[in-house]
Amino acid sequence: MRDLIRGILKGAVGPEANDSRFLLDVHSRDLPGESTMVRYDDSDEVDLVVVGAGAGGSVLAQRLARAGWRVVILEAGPFWHPDEDWVSDEAGSHQLYWTQKRIIGGSDPIPMGSNNSGRGVGGSMVHYAGYCPRFHPSDFHTHSVDGVGADWPITYEDLRPHYEQVERELPVAGQDWPWGHPHRYPFSPHPVSEQGAVLWRGAIRAGVEMRVGPVGIVNGTFGNRPHCIYRGYCLQGCKVNAKASPYVTHLPDALAHRVEIRADCMVARVELDDATGRAVGVVYHDEVGGTERLQRARFVAVSGYSIETPRLLLQSTSRRFPHGLGNNDDQVGRYVMVQGAAQTAGRFPEEIRQYKAPPPEVSSEQFYETDPARGFARGFSIQTVGPLPITWSEHVLADGHWGRALREYMRDYNHWATIGVLNELLPHQDNRVTLAEETDPYGLPVARFDFSVGDNDQANMDYSTKVIKDILEAAGAQDVLTVHRYAHLVGGARMGTSPESSVLDANQRIWGVPNVFCSDGSVMPTQGSANPALTIMALASRLAERMASGRAMDSSGALVG
């Protein structure tokens, strides 16, 4: 009944226990409360120190601060002041990405930075596109049902109330969702642009069902968050405050509940007391070349995402964990996943102008589940995207053009429409993060990420590329152009049912360490073909609830209540 009323009232009913939307300033984009933010001393043992102010860390901090915990977040990147720091420009947004060096290897090395790694307060959701789909119930037991991947130690039902809560907080706008566990969204779907309409028409003709959304972009009145202005720069940081990121959705409320965000602080290791086996806090640098500082804390949450979380755990060696924290069974850094993210563009006689409106508009999960007839396990989703000129020029280059040919293609930019896929690539133990010999400016070893595509993955990608080409051809495209690429990151410190095959228990706590948790995308055993942001937040919301009640600290590591 409650759901029904919310569904009818749409955005008129706001989220509970989160005042971020009212705390924001109508006329300034700065994070309110920065100047009056509480400051804790290093020697002051806080209740929780969180490493990383992104989706997982921010939600956890906000929730536990509401429960009365004293929380410090250490963030490697800067404390943004969007009015001055963020720009309506592609190349000028370079500093939003984690551009510190990572070494990439394997047979399919994954470029890092712009489309998978964020840096600074708010994390990579500052520059994510905005798609906020849920995982499907099937994602939580692909091993039992499809014989691939891994089973989660929790189910969709464990996350469902948190999905609903986070969707109200972002808030998510979209049509009623027919796939996975069918559900509604708190805000109505956004208007569809020329590009969205052209692609959607093609999908209908090709027999592919699509829906508008789901995107974490305000469509209506939501406290002091303005309505979207459809300028199309979602991937460059939303200067409007319409697109959701922890910077606007959770950190204002966190600061109002006495959370300290200590920016420009690079954590070097989790400090373990070998006598007790408990972490005493984290050691960090507040400047390059500075002395090490130790922030004491009762609990530690590592929220650095799939590269930096394993890197930090591997760097945190002790007598009890000589190969890195939680790594006595050689599981840390393994099973890192990316999604296949090929994009196909079609050329149309009329002007499309794909730079207008947010890139995420219309999507489909019709191919999400396993269909034996396709010849591979699991599936993919389909989403519209709208590359801006620099990104579009990379597409043209990848199609083999440079010089005069490239300029000729480029000046035709306004005639192209682009659609992409997200393939569920399966977890593999050798797709992993390790420490390289090279060190960063802090003297810490940089991460190395090796990735290789498997046979099922390749079959999935080949099939999905054909589907989006069919959509474009059905839409009336005169020519198509496809680029093969990857997006997103999850895994690397996965949760599971035994320390031999996972890093974390069902409470996202490191096996064998009573007070260190992970709260980010690295905890996921599988990834579905959904964008990970919403699930990272929902997992953090669930973890916070269990930490606040003490259930997460139950020594058995199993699910209790």
Binding site: D83, E84, D85, V87, S88, D89, E90, A91, G92, Y97, T99, K101, R102, I103, I104, G105, P109, I110, P111, G113, S114, P191, V192, S193, E194, Q195, G196, I229, Y230, R231, G232, Y233, V240, R347, P349, E350, E351, R353, Y355, K356, P389, I390, W392, S393, G400, H401, W402, G403, R404, A405, L406, E408, Y409, M410, R411, D412, Y413, N414, D450, Q478
Partner: protein, 210 residues
């Protein structure tokens, strides 16, 4: 190259840009003619000839691509990854420029890449794009990846410049203005203008008309 949007200039809307964005773009335009900081005087002619060749810029005024690349590398604004079988991007650039000179010398007996005639330069770049250069500096690189590393920087330099936006009819910065006319029936904002021509580039390139 004939402009497709002769009546369109993103600067017509400059008063609607927010001050932070405007400053970033004006700073970028001011790179033109600035002395290089990362590349040596010996490397500079090869760098400029390469940027001109791959972006088909053969006339003034040029989009300052070479200066953009130099500024990026001098400031250490790298992209966050390095292939395990490749050196640091800064080293990659130096090796690529040396390799281009070597290829021009080997193929045409030219003093360097910049001294080769336009057809010769295009032949060398064609070989680079196809990963078909070897020997000398190229042995220290994965040639296909080197092409993608250098072109990533070149394309970012070129298509981040307002003159390039005018050429392709891109609306440019859009905050706080935004867009009100999204479609879906090809409606344009008052400050946008439709293309004067609409040749299909796929046909033009396939038939060798460029």
């Amino acid at each position: 190259m004939v402009g497709r949007y002769p009546d369109f200039d993103v600067f017509d809307a400059v008063e609607t840009w927010d001050h932070a964005t405007r400053k970033v773009i004006e700073d970028r335009m001011a790179l033109a003619g600035r002395p290089l900081r990362f590349f040596t005087p010996e490397e500079e002619p090869t760098l400029r000839a390469f940027c001109d060749t791959v972006m088909a810029q053969d006339d003034e005024p040029r989009v300052p691509v070479a200066e953009f690349v130099d500024d990026k590398l001098a400031a250490g604004r790298l992209d966050g990854y390095q292939y395990a079988d490749m050196p640091d991007d800064r080293e990659t650039w130096r090796l690529v420029l040396a390799g281009l000179d070597e290829a021009a010398r080997d193929r045409f007996g030219a003093e360097g890449f910049a001294a080769a005639d336009p057809t010769g330069r295009e032949e060398v770049v064609d070989a680079l794009a196809a990963g078909k250069l070897s020997g000398g500096s190229w042995e220290r690189l994965n040639v296909t990846r080197a092409w993608s590393v250098v072109m990533h920087a070149v394309l970012t330099g070129f298509y981040s410049h307002p003159w390039a936006w005018n050429e392709i009819g891109f609306g440019g910065p859009a905050y706080p203005r935004g867009f009100m006319r999204l479609g879906p029936v090809s409606t344009l904002e008052p400050f946008e203008s439709p293309g004067a021509t609409q040749e299909d580039p796929v046909r033009i390139v396939a038939e060798g008309e460029v």
